[in-house]
Amino acid sequence: MALNTTILSEPNPTASAAALTSRALRLPRSPKVIAGLVILVVFAVIAVIGAWIAPYSPNLTNESWVQHILVAGTGPGTHLKADYYPLPLPPSGAHWLGTTVFAQDVWSQLLVSTQATVAVGLLAAAISTALSIIVGVTAGYLGGGADEGLSLVGNVFLAIPGLPLLIVLADYVPAAGTSVFLVSLIIAITAWAYSSRVLRAQTLSLRNRDFVEAARVSGEGRVRIILFEILPNLIPIVAASFLFTTLYAIGAYVAISFLGLAGSPTSSPPGLWNWGYMLRETFANDAVRGGWWWWWAPPGLCIALLGTGLALLNFGIDEFINPRLRVAGLSRKAARSLGISRRPKLGLTPVVRRDMINVDVTGAEPGTP
């Protein structure tokens, strides 16, 4: 079908007013982004209030929370003393997600674990993003020898595989697991190089644009140019790499906890409860073979769900950076009302402006707040 080029090239005049009101949040409002945001908000809330609303302490054990099964060949009728092994209880009203073989409440563990998992993800991503901005933007802006040196450091860190390095570092810093900050720091050390490379490339392309030249000619200092001229233009990329790094950091934290390198909550000094440690306990106790799905499935699903939320939000940012991806993210109804084919012809992928989508999808009146 033919493209309605008038819509594409000239924004609807009534649209821009509505668009202005929501300029602050310039993410495309596709269902993907909304779903991602909802998931993240839910986990963020649980991370904050999880420890309060947990019905029990995650470490609390109670003899009556497991079934005691008589070991065959012991007890009455044999010459051996009666011996029992514990069997976890399936979900019930008292234990929403059942219990573990250690007679602990899984639902409480899941709630409490959210906090450390989310906190490490965010803090590691924050440290790593700060590092990558410092190294990447500086290298890209300064150029020359500084660039060569910083890029080399970045490339070396990029080439060394992250998890093995993380394992060795965590292995030698046994106290790491007791502190959110230490774990985050170690993870950030292995995570910053990729974002740094992306930021450097983008800074290189911005460095000689006119507005930067203008700032330079008008006598602005280097630091000011980097902070106020270049950095604002990097925000979408920084945001994307922040989300990507959060995803990586959660995966890395879960992985080292699964390997037993982030401490155990019951040892001293106590490690932090997190989803990776929960999975470690289920794996060590053969929960899959035992059929105790209520124990091993929830932490894994939470990790996958949180990761999906981050990735969905990242789609939104990708579509913001690269408008061509946006058409693919439109719903059928929105595309039809814009007169755009969702199966674009070659070479003619329409670049959808957000204000168009906004108006057509929500049907907002011009000027409504």
């Binding site: 595989p161 992250g162 060795v168 995966g251 894994g300 990790i303 070659l346 003619l348």
Partner: protein
């Protein structure tokens, strides 16, 4: 060629950094392995000065010489392929790793290649058929990308594994049937290896393919708007040929991002091997961590790093071969 040499330089430097980190860490961080080993020895008897010396020798430490001399000695040993002695396995680390490596490399190589090819093809098709029913693959790929490898492994064991509780189609423990077949060049052994590799490989493929799909799709959508694709179409070329033109060009950034992908896949596979008790490097790393066998942990770290660097160099070579610009640039 110069581009390749430059990359080679970066990788050599990375290898040196990894080796140095693995040398320095145990010596800088308090509570070094020697103290641990002496404590272990003392718990089963008296450890006198000779015993201490023997432990130091065995672990490749000699804490009474200067750090620099130790470093030179460490590098010298490394060049001769001597990574120290593993007390938990009671064998030289080098020969241990040599016995683990084929399993890891085989699984990693096959799974990564299948995943890369599959992911790229699916990504191309998804970009080409945008707006079709194939779009549901996008959230699915995202979900699989977000699942930790080892959790996916647990789910696959549950559904398909012999130790699971549902279909019991494939063996899900060890690298081959350790009770039923004799290792060697015989058919049952090879068949057993392949059967035991199905689930671990499937895990790695499913978990890593999402990333390849997404990056290829996004790259392809951008490339499809280039003028040369329009020209190719305007000339009336076959759809297949036009897609091939676009895909070839969209592939380049994906190949150059391969180095990031490969270290994520390696990280994932370490955990997958643990779940399946697959006798590769990752599984034994788990054992070494549990046994506090620092020598083995470090040896494995150094070797994994070298493997990843070699894979990167391979990807770079391919990149230079398929992209003429990379040859001109340098």
């Amino acid at each position: 060629m110069r581009a390749l040499l430059r990359r080679l330089g970066v990788y050599l430097l990375a290898a040196w950094v990894a080796v140095t980190v693995s040398f320095l860490l145990p010596r800088v961080v308090p509570g070094n392995p020697v103290a641990g080993a002496i404590a272990r020895a003392q718990s089963s008897g008296i450890c006198n000065a000779y015993c201490v010396k023997a432990i130091e020798e065995q672990l490749g430490f000699n804490v009474h010489t200067s750090l620099w001399l130790q470093y030179v000695q460490y590098l010298g040993n490394l060049v001769h392929g001597n990574l120290g002695f593993s007390w938990s396995e009671n064998a030289p680390v080098t020969s241990l790793i040599a016995s683990y490596l084929p399993w890891t490399l085989g699984l990693l190589g096959v799974a990564t290649i299948l995943s890369f090819i599959g992911g790229t093809v699916i990504g191309v098709i998804m970009a080409w058929r945008r707006g079709s029913f194939l779009d549901w693959l996008l959230p699915a790929a995202t979900f699989f990308q977000a699942i930790p490898y080892f959790f996916l492994a647990l789910v696959l064991v549950l559904i398909f594994g012999e130790t699971g509780s549902m279909l019991k189609w494939f063996p899900s423990l060890y690298g081959y049937d350790i009770y039923g077949v004799d290792p060697g060049m015989n058919l049952p052994y090879i068949a057993s290896i392949i059967g035991h590799a199905v689930l671990p490989a499937l895990t790695v493929i499913l978990a890593s393919m999402g990333g390849f799909i997404l990056s290829m799709r996004n790259q392809m959508i951008t490339t499809m708007d280039e003028d040369f694709v329009l020209v190719a179409r305007a000339k009336g070329l076959h759809t297949g040929k036009v897609v091939w033109y676009a895909a070839r060009n969209a592939l380049l950034p994906c190949v150059s991002n391969f180095s990031v992908a490969i270290s994520l896949v390696v990280a994932g596979q370490i955990l997958v091997e643990i779940v399946f008790n697959y006798p590769g490097i990752g599984y034994h790393l788990y054992g070494a961590l549990g046994a506090l066998d620092y020598t083995l942990v470090q040896g494995i770290f150094v070797v994994i790093t070298l493997v990843v660097l070699a894979a990167n160099l391979l990807a770079d070579t391919v990149y230079v071969l398929i992209d003429p610009r990379a040859r001109l640039e340098a």
